[in-house]
Each structure stands twice: as C-alpha cells, then as structure tokens.
C-alpha cells in the first residue's frame, strides 16, 4: 500500500468518524458529552491535516458525504458509546496502515503514531462505557 493510498483511506474514515461523533454527542451527557465534543474537535483537526498531507503528494482528498447510514442503531448512551468505540476502532485500523506505509522518521509516521495513541484512549473509554470487560491490546491490528 502506498502512503497516499493509506492517507486517502484514513481521510475517508475520518469523514465517517466526524459524522458519527455528531450522533454520539447527541446521545450522551455530562462528562461523556464533553469527551465526545473534544473528540469531534480532534477528529476535525485530524481530517484537515490529512487533507494537507494528501495534497502535498498531489492527491485529491475525498469529500465527505452529506450523510452516512449508521452501522448500528443509536438510541441511548450505551449504544452511542458502542458507536463511539466502532468509530475509533475504524480510525485505529486506518492509522495502522498509514504507519505501515510510511517512511521511518517521517511526518506521516509521527502523525499516525500520535493519532493512534489518541484513538486508543478514546477506544478504551467508549468500550468500557458500553460494557466491555477488557481493553484492546493491539488497536488497529488487522484481524
């Protein structure tokens, strides 16, 4: 996989994650709503950075769809947390590929590693809120 292909895939995921966090944030309250809002801001910034990384390579960043169909119904805090976990798991998977496709000591790899750490923290948070009894040992790893 070329780094451009991996970045394009990661951006496509980010568009979905950003849409999904709008749904998550609408169904959680208190500190979790704050967390969802902060995560949305972080993913907005990640999307913008991915666009620049793609454009630097002459790629054409995909634009977001106007809406996405959810993979799971969301009607309360638990199902919202479950969606949040799915979003971060998907982001982690895309970042694994960005890191694997990147050159050593490159900006792409540095960004990928930093974002993977951020997504892992959120992945654990949402999974535990949704009732998981364990932590993810290798976030992003292909199954």
């Amino acid at each position: 996989v070329s780094i451009l292909t991996a970045l394009l895939a990661a951006l496509a995921i980010e568009h979905q994650v950003i849409y999904g966090y709008g749904v998550v944030g609408a169904h959680v309250h208190g500190r979790l709503q704050t967390s969802a809002r902060d995560a949305l801001t972080a993913h907005d910034e990640r999307r913008d950075r991915l666009v620049r990384q793609i454009q630097r390579r002459g790629g054409r960043p995909p634009v977001a769809a106007s809406a996405y169909a959810l993979s799971t119904p969301v009607d309360d805090g638990v199902t919202a947390a479950r969606l949040g976990a799915q979003l971060e798991a998907a982001a982690a998977g895309a970042l694994w590929d960005v890191i694997a496709a990147s050159e050593r000591q490159s900006e792409d790899r540095r960004l990928g590693a930093s974002w993977l750490a951020e997504s892992t923290r959120l992945l654990d948070q949402w999974r535990l809120v949704a009732g998981a009894q364990d932590l993810v040992a290798l976030p992003g790893q292909p199954s």
């Binding site: 959810l70 890191i99 590693a113 809120v129 993810v136």
Partner: protein
C-alpha cells in the same frame, strides 16, 4: 505490497454516497520477522524486555496488594501479556512464555511492589519509548506494531476508573 482488500473492518458507516475506500491491508499474518536478518530486531527485543518488565511489575503489585490508585491491574496486565506474545511472534521466538499466563493468585506481599501511580509512570515512559522505536523502525509492519503497543501504554497511563468500574 500486494495486500488483500478488506474494507469491511474499516467501514463502520455505510456511505449514502459512494466513498471509494482503498483500504488495503499492510499485514501478512503468515509472515514473521526473522530476528537474525531483521534490522528492527533490536527495537523489538527492547520492546519485549519492556513488556516483560511491566508484567513482572504488575505481578508484584498484585501479590503485594499494592494501592491500585484506580488502576484495574488485571485488565492492564492482560494487554501486556498480549504484547509479549505479539512481540515474541514478531521475533519468531518460541511462544507461550510462562510469564504471560494468568497472574499469580496468592503470594506474600513484598515491600518493593510498585504502586498504582508508579505503574502509570512506567506505562507512560515505556509508551514514549515504544513510539520512538516505531518512528525509527525500518519495516512498516514493525513500526505499526510498536506504535500500536505504545498507544496502549500511553492510553493506560491516562485511563482512570470510578469505584463502580467504569472509566472517567
């Protein structure tokens, strides 16, 4: 790389507009590192030593019933056991090290057992080291593995739990 396309793991939401998603995988589960020729073997070996050290720390903390400081020792220990297995596999070492099994259940407390806060510090320190090794790895798959493990360490250094068991 000629990787199989597996978009299903990535597509958490189905786009109403078609989103071309070239989610190619950079990983061949059947291919292992060969430590003798692998330029990343030193980093993998250092990562493995760090993981084994953390496992030992968690075992001592549990045995001594050290103050958890909100840390679920068993949950965190389980991730490190998985890391040891992944790194042993990457280094093509014999699997099933006894140290990665179930934690010891009943031993006498020791005065040198690490506390919850000190384990958090160890998680953060090793997380930063793993990220550094990931940045310098020559092989992409090694970089991704080390970055993923490092991400877990960094996340676990921040994770806080309520008494009820949920995260804060």
């Amino acid at each position: 790389m000629s990787d199989a396309v597996r978009p299903s793991r990535r597509v958490v939401l189905l786009g109403l507009l078609a989103v071309p998603l070239a989610a190619c995988r950079g990983h061949h589960p059947g291919v292992r590192h060969r430590s003798a020729a692998d330029p990343d073997a030193p980093a993998l070996t250092a990562a493995l030593a760090a993981e084994r050290g953390l496992l030992a720390d968690y075992d001592r903390a549990r045995s001594a019933r050290a103050s958890a400081g909100g840390m679920p020792f068993d949950l965190f220990r389980a991730t490190h056991a998985a890391h040891v297995q992944a790194l042993e596999s990457a280094l093509n070492l014999p699997a099933a090290s006894p140290s990665t099994g179930a934690p010891p259940t009943s031993t006498a407390p020791t005065s040198t057992a690490p506390s919850g806060p000190s384990l958090r510090g160890r998680e953060a320190d090793t997380g930063r080291s793993l990220t550094t090794w990931a940045l310098g790895a020559r092989q992409g798959k090694t970089a991704a593995l080390l970055a993923s493990i490092g991400a877990v360490h960094l996340a676990q250094s921040h994770l806080r739990f309520h008494r009820s068991g949920g995260p804060t």
